[in-house]
Symmetry: D2
Subunit: 217 residues, 4 copies
């Protein structure tokens, strides 16, 4: 779950969400991971048992780079991977390739976000661990990608498999309910990338339980 930069998802807020997710993960056996802002990576990695991802790392080698975040520093803070190329933090294609190589060297998982099936196919050629396809116009909205544009998910799954069968496809944008998750899995996705729908839910636990029910159906 991508916690973005909401008022509700910094510091103690992110910790409360992560703890609720962890409890649901334990109860249901469904895997959850959490991507807080960089300031909170270490807090969540040391205070919960959830896998913690960075939301972004920069395509620079370690060295004299002010205000840049390296995969190596993310790992040292406790991250097990990173989102890459989120539609709110897009990268140049050569930089995606560079970051993926760096993450691999660090033993960190990569989740590259894409905006449509064709871009998913291109990114698959760079060999990430996961591709999360998210049509930008649905991000933060009320309709799930798996309902509004199911072909984006199924086409991404198909095209990515043609290029590299080891790359697993997630989908995101508007995903909020167990039903959305179930539809995504039926379309061939192996999981979902979540954000505002759950991070800002009044009852994170109830919301996470609903999502988990979709994953297990």
């Amino acid at each position: 779950m991508n916690l973005k930069a909401y008022r509700q998802t910094r510091g103690e807020g992110s910790l409360a969400i992560a703890r609720a997710l962890e409890a649901v993960a334990v109860e249901t056996g469904v895997a959850f991971a959490v991507a807080p802002n960089a300031f909170d990576i270490r807090l969540l990695a040391t205070s919960t048992g959830l896998p913690v991802l960075a939301q972004h790392v920069d395509a620079v080698p370690e060295g004299g780079h002010t205000g840049h975040l390296t995969p190596e520093a993310a790992r040292e803070a406790g991250a097990v991977g990173s989102l890459v190329n989120h539609s709110e933090r897009r990268l140049q294609v050569a930089d995606i390739e560079h970051v993926l190589e760096r993450l691999r060297e660090c033993g960190l998982a990569s989740v590259v976000c894409t905006n449509n099936a064709r871009v998913s196919r291109a990114v698959a050629a760079l060999g990430p661990d996961f591709i999360a396809v998210e049509p930008p116009e649905l991000i933060g909205g009320d309709v799930s990608v798996s309902t509004a544009r199911p072909e984006v998910v199924s086409d991404s799954v198909r095209l990515v498999r043609q290029v590299d069968a080891h790359v697993r496809v997630l989908c995101g944008a508007g995903v909020k309910t167990g039903h959305d998750v179930r539809r995504a899995i039926e379309l061939g996705a192996e999981g979902v990338l979540l954000a505002s729908g759950v991070a800002l839910a009044r009852d994170v636990r109830a919301s996470a339980l609903d999502l988990a029910s979709g994953a297990r159906a």
Copy 2:
């Protein structure tokens, strides 16, 4: 001291440097602050008594912004301020103004980096707490700005005072020794912005003691 993104300045490395600086600060009465990467802000803020700055915050309001760092989240992690517009992370002028307003609202100090006296004068009009003038061509080098281009420092001090006498001027780039610090202060600077010279020093304590001697001379 700007810890940048060096291999030596992440996690435990940054903590060791911060502790050495803190000890020197206590012994000498000279003020030090430290700017680690975002992952390490909370670690240094909770484990040391040094003022901790962010190296960068993004010019976005809190909300759905993946991979962005807000002043509010920096404060919650324990930062007391932020570098802004470092030459390795430059901002658009409207964004500098936005970030300064946000930092003020959060009660956080701002240290805006500039590259020459004319830009220092422009930035002074935006009302930051500090301006740190650093000619990019000297950053990471062996010769201090206060030796190589003293007029950049003295002109910045003079022009900034004309615009806003409350803005304090620091200088950086190549500053490594107590002598460099003393020269900077003679030129009108109220402090220095340090990076590789000390962060990568074999003996951080000795290096910091030398710097402090320059500040007290």
Copy 3:
């Protein structure tokens, strides 16, 4: 007048607009200038007598820079100046300073766009020929900055004069009619920066005549 990147303002379209403006300029004695896309600079400079500005130049020296536009090349194509830092093409502050110096060396006029009075004051310290203050939220809209937010104009005029009395202030955003122009001039502006209101007008000549009437009132 900023012709932007509209379908109606490329090639022959931009030429027709420029000719209409030139005729009105001659008839009324009111000065007009035109900023077409880079492809059309030479066309308008050779086919009309209007002063032609570039919409943007890049902050790079002449050399191996693909897809970059230099002040020197703009001048050679017939431009007499350039917009700088338009809200749709913002620059870092150090780059604004660099571009202004280059434009000066080329004998080209500079029109730096700003988003509010405080940023206008900062930019004035960099010594441009003109500052065009345009609140981004009003750009392309139906209400003129001189009506909706007159204090942005009058404050910019006042603050810019404090810093450098040689810098002339224009205003833009929503400016469409002679009345808008008159109000702008009453607020202390020496001209206006126009775009969609006139470039997309059904009758460019009539629209330009109305604007000119405001300038002469």
Copy 4:
């Protein structure tokens, strides 16, 4: 041939180079194309018979975008295609896809630059007309990619064909002589992307004749 932003390649300079290339193209039957800066597209398109490419177009629809260049405006100025994602003007991956679609709709050819074989493979999935692989560290240097890193060329050719056999592969970086061209063609490239080696040559005609001899060998 990419004319970049050199002092020697603006206005009349670009025209002289284009005329020399055109003469060699006619004499030798070898195809040349030229990519001047945006200001000079129309000049070269109307004054020579060479195919003219833009060095860059922006990933924005036509509309209110100051300082942006659209494929539609490039076509109207006489361009028959555009370079995309040159290492000196890199794009985000979603923007490459957007620009390629726009160029196709305009009937313009696309030449996407890449930095290595893996990125070539990724870009092939986006269906450009040409991919020009150019290791950035060799650009502007004295050793040709086909000599220094032949595997970058041959691997790109092989991987691109696997993804989309219609995409033709060019190579660039350090290419200056007929021998370099011949090596490139032996490695499977269908042409070369040239810049400083020829654009800055003392005798452009002699240089172009030498290159052409490599293409015909």
